[in-house]
Symmetry: C3
Subunit: 455 residues, 3 copies
């Protein structure tokens, strides 16, 4: 016994001190193992007992190490949580957003830059080639007190207050219904409601001239599993001095299918708008190219007490293929004895992702969303997403005594999505014909491209 204790001490001091370095708290266990050996060696316990005890001691050591680490881990976790519990969630990837851990507060800073270049092959249409910043916007948006969303966005290529885009506060406490107050888009038209960043072509189609876009007002939006509905009451444009009339729009959409790569979408739009005390209106449209300020079709300002817009939407996606089309018409009630006039237009477009992506759809808003390439572009690795597209559009701004002209265009488009935030776009547009108006018989050809980044 004495001998074995001496041996134990020696062994312990030599071996145990080494063991201590890697697992210090288990020295006692190592001592136990040595003790067992000594007890076996001096016959206090049998070989069989020794095996059993040794196995148990080894298992204990393992459990000890594991449970000890677990205990430390638990303590660290608790204290790190304590130390970081006031830290918000901060997103840096894809967007800059800071939100409280409970999600009741959220702040986001976004922006976009679109640089366009256009070459115009003119005949008599006075289109001047050049480059421009198509859009340069910054926005700050947030969520406050959990159920209030706010947003302010400014377009720096336009003069105040024309540059004010979304500027609203939204109550989201009645899910799925939301109430919005401020400057925002009247619900009307699939292409108008889809963010410009996510359009297939550089500019919206000719009939977009009838879509009201943003006005100051109040609106309500709601949705179900396969449908959306929105309406509101809107006053004048933020840039206009009162009195500039008011509008009552409505949009309903129906999407019986909205899977990840299969979408079927139907929509109907309506707006009635009073032109206010001025009792005038005007419809004019650029040739699906914005570098020029020339409008090939233009009614000029004419007397009108009110007008009524109606539109129908049809769209779908099937794997890499997508189609989209809209018809919009407007009945204008000319003030006085002039007859009422009817203007209208339509477009149809199709696109194909060569790289296999599918156009994403937002069923709760009934609009298209941002394309995310399967592989982001990086030299020698992924090549981003590539999309080829075709569009035909038609616009008729001539009726009765108003000769604004009729125009139809075809467009070929090629889009390169380098990653979800950067996109290059190329459009070739042929104006097939302009009939009537100031540019009768104009048939210019347009080649344009865009570099777009947003965040």
């Amino acid at each position: 016994m004495i001998h074995s204790l001496k041996t134990l001490l020696w062994t312990l001091l030599v071996a145990g001190s080494a063991a201590l370095i890697s697992a210090p708290a288990l020295a006692a266990n190592d001592a136990m193992l040595k003790l067992l050996e000594e007890l076996r060696d001096n016959g206090t316990i049998s070989e069989e007992q020794y095996e059993k005890l040794n196995d148990a001691a080894l298992a204990e050591e393992e459990r000890g190490t594991a449970s000890e680490q677990e205990a430390v881990k638990e303590q660290v976790k608790e204290q790190v949580e304590e130390a970081t519990k006031d830290l918000p969630e901060i997103s840096t990837d894809g967007k800059f957003e800071v939100a409280s851990k409970d999600g009741n507060w959220r702040w986001r800073f976004g922006g976009r830059i679109q640089v366009d270049g256009a070459y115009y092959d003119n005949d008599n249409s006075e289109l001047a080639s050049g480059v421009e910043i198509r859009r340069a916007r910054l926005n700050m948006q947030g969520t406050i007190y959990k159920v209030w969303d706010l947003k302010f966005e400014y377009e720096f290529t336009e003069s105040p207050p024309d540059g004010i885009r979304d500027a609203y506060i939204r109550y989201t406490g009645f899910k799925p219904t939301s109430l919005t107050l401020g400057n925002f888009k009247e619900p009307f038209s699939l292409e108008q409601m889809t963010r410009d960043l996510y359009l297939t072509f550089m500019e919206r189609a000719l009939p977009d001239v009838f879509a009201p876009s943003r006005f100051l007002g109040a609106g309500v939006h709601t949705y179900g599993e396969t449908w959306t509905a929105a309406t509101g009451f809107f006053g004048n444009n933020v840039a206009e001095d009162a009195p500039e009339g008011y509008g009552i729009p409505a949009r309903v959409t129906f999407a019986p299918v909205h899977e990840e790569t299969r979408v079927a979408h139907l929509g109907a739009n309506f707006q009635w708008r009073s032109t206010g005390d001025d009792k005038v209106t005007r419809f004019r449209q650029r040739p699906e190219s914005h570098v020029t300020d020339v409008r090939l079709v233009d009614t000029g300002t004419f007397d009108a007490s009110s007008f009524t817009n109606a539109g129908a939407e049809l769209a779908g996606a099937y794997g890499p293929w997508s189609v989209q089309g809209e018809y919009i018409g407007t009945w204008v009630d000319q003030a006085g004895s002039d007859p009422n006039v009817y203007f209208w237009g339509w477009y149809t477009q199709g696109s194909w992702f060569l790289t296999g992506e599918s156009r994403p759809y937002n069923f709760s808003s009934g609009i298209w969303e941002n394309v995310k390439p399967k592989q982001n572009f990086s030299w020698g690795d992924g090549w981003g997403a590539w999309e080829a597209a075709f569009r035909y559009s038609y616009l008729d701004l001539s009726d009765q005594d108003i000769d604004g002209g009729k125009q139809d265009d075809v467009t070929l488009g090629l889009n390169w999505y380098l990653n979800p935030n950067i996109r290059f776009m190329w459009n070739l547009i042929k104006v097939l014909d302009v009939k009537g108006g100031s540019f009768n018989d104009a048939k210019p050809f347009i080649a344009q491209m865009r570099a777009q980044v947003f965040w």
Copy 2:
């Protein structure tokens, strides 16, 4: 002894290993407890000794566990502090602000949106009903090198550089005195110095026409326990081309009482302003409603080499009640042989919080602060704060050869503070009379409302 050792080992391996899972490092102590039992059982120690030893060992175990946990906790704390010491303080609730832990650096991003609608019941006053974005501002402010504050704020409803609001740098190293350089408000008038976000009515009272608001210059501000004093030297407005004169303002306030729900405030204001080489000036004022651009009283531009403003303030709060009044007059030194003229105005207002809040007062600036509802609004729970208010205001812009007109208004106001950041306001204004000027005898009635959010 041998037997007891064997028993000890067995017991230890079975019981101890379970104990290890919850407190692994204390196995040695468990072994000690078992050993004591064995020693008692084989008579090596007496029952009495055993009790004593066992109690001590148990106490030791407790202390051991506690001190061990304490030690780990301490280590974790230190290292968590080390790992997170470079993380700044980030506020997401109520505002977005990021500050270094030492407070020497601070960055904040704020903004506001005010959407107004106004209905004008006209007689001959040409006021046109409508909606507008009253204010849409973003700002970035910060603290750098501990003692320097900076701020830049832009009003997006106005054209550059008119939209530049606060744009200054401030030295705060001589507490409680601060020095400011840049574009900021000349110290003058309680209502003008109070932030528009915190006003009781949608627009400031008629006599605010005499308050200089923001100019480019340098100023000094200081305060004691019951008083504040501010002065400065200011050049032209940021939007005006030089030479546009310069101004020397001063404001002193005295608040013998400024408790949480009881405030008594007195103030005096002064400004001398040269009109610069142009030697002209103009005073005109909207009817406490901003949707219209019509001014019912307006001196038109007239010759003036300088003018002197003086004003007196009186205000107080007592529980849910508050009162406020100001008188401001201006002596205009008309250039040449024209006689000097005197214009003046005053207003008085009172308000009552139906929900029991008290109007908060900022004693170091001598201004009113933001109302925080006792309960924030949420459906079926709190209903926010509600305030009813009344105001009478008078403005006289007619004297000698200048016939700008005289106007007096009464206003009924109702404010709903949903939470500290969102407010709805309703104002009913009756213009009691306009005498003289271009709108002689005008007595329009105005109903207007505002939705306000700021962050």
Copy 3:
């Protein structure tokens, strides 16, 4: 043995429990030490063995403590890293920037405010004294997907889209070469390429009139250890309607020496620019003071189909001394039968840091950088950096049939850098002479100062 065990237990319980508080897991080792004493006392081991064993046990205890603490520390470190690995890097000191830990994403918010005051001692030069906000800018910039940089900066003293400054996206994947697309500075002139925040004098020298500054276009920049090269293709100015011509600039610099306090820099610049369909151009320049809008030299708008700029740069720093000079000339191809004209200018300047700083140089861009004082200013402690400077500049805008005038100025400058972000500047300018043009013989004296903060 029995006795010694009893003693051991007692000693252990009394002494060990105290030891446990400070190092609980080492109780076993204390027990070992006591056991050794007992074994020595009852003769089981010799005094010699005891010494050896005791020393080893003590060493083991030390190692045990150290290694145990190390192990816990390591575990804590790992787990703290795990718990905080999604937290971005947040800079609050000197700038506000948030970046992902891997550096692939970065967001930064910056701005600047410059407040100027100028006093003009006129003769016939119609310069009007006053104050102005010289620049008030905010910007948001970032890095996305590691190799894409983006930046948007807006100047709030100017109307849209004139206020758009940098608005670009840059590919940095081909280090050290970068490709930029959008609105940014054409590479031309050391003084123009150096950020306005880092200039020695309040305004750039007279010949800067020939430097193109920002246009919409595409550019490439690269550099080696001692050189930089940049070129590009640029269209019209962001504020101009097309068609406004296009420009092809190039800049190469050579810096055989660029140590921390010693710099030798040479540069050459070139630009060819078509004036577009308008076929006109104009050169005019303020007298190195911006509060006034008056230009003492001005060619007026004249016919020109294109012009070619060329320039040479020479600069250096040696300890607190720095020198800089440029020559720029432009050949204008007047449309039609008018003769070609040649305009030119040059400047030379020197500066001395009284407080010993050296002007920092950015060798990868071939430009000057921000001065950082050796000691920041704070009352009674450091006094910031002080710099005295002198400049002579000359501009000749008269040739052939164009009489824009010739001007030469001398400037004395004093700069106070309170810290890296705040600077005060004083300039005394004497226009030595204006010959020709609308202000023939004008020799005004100008005293101006600036307060500048940026972040």
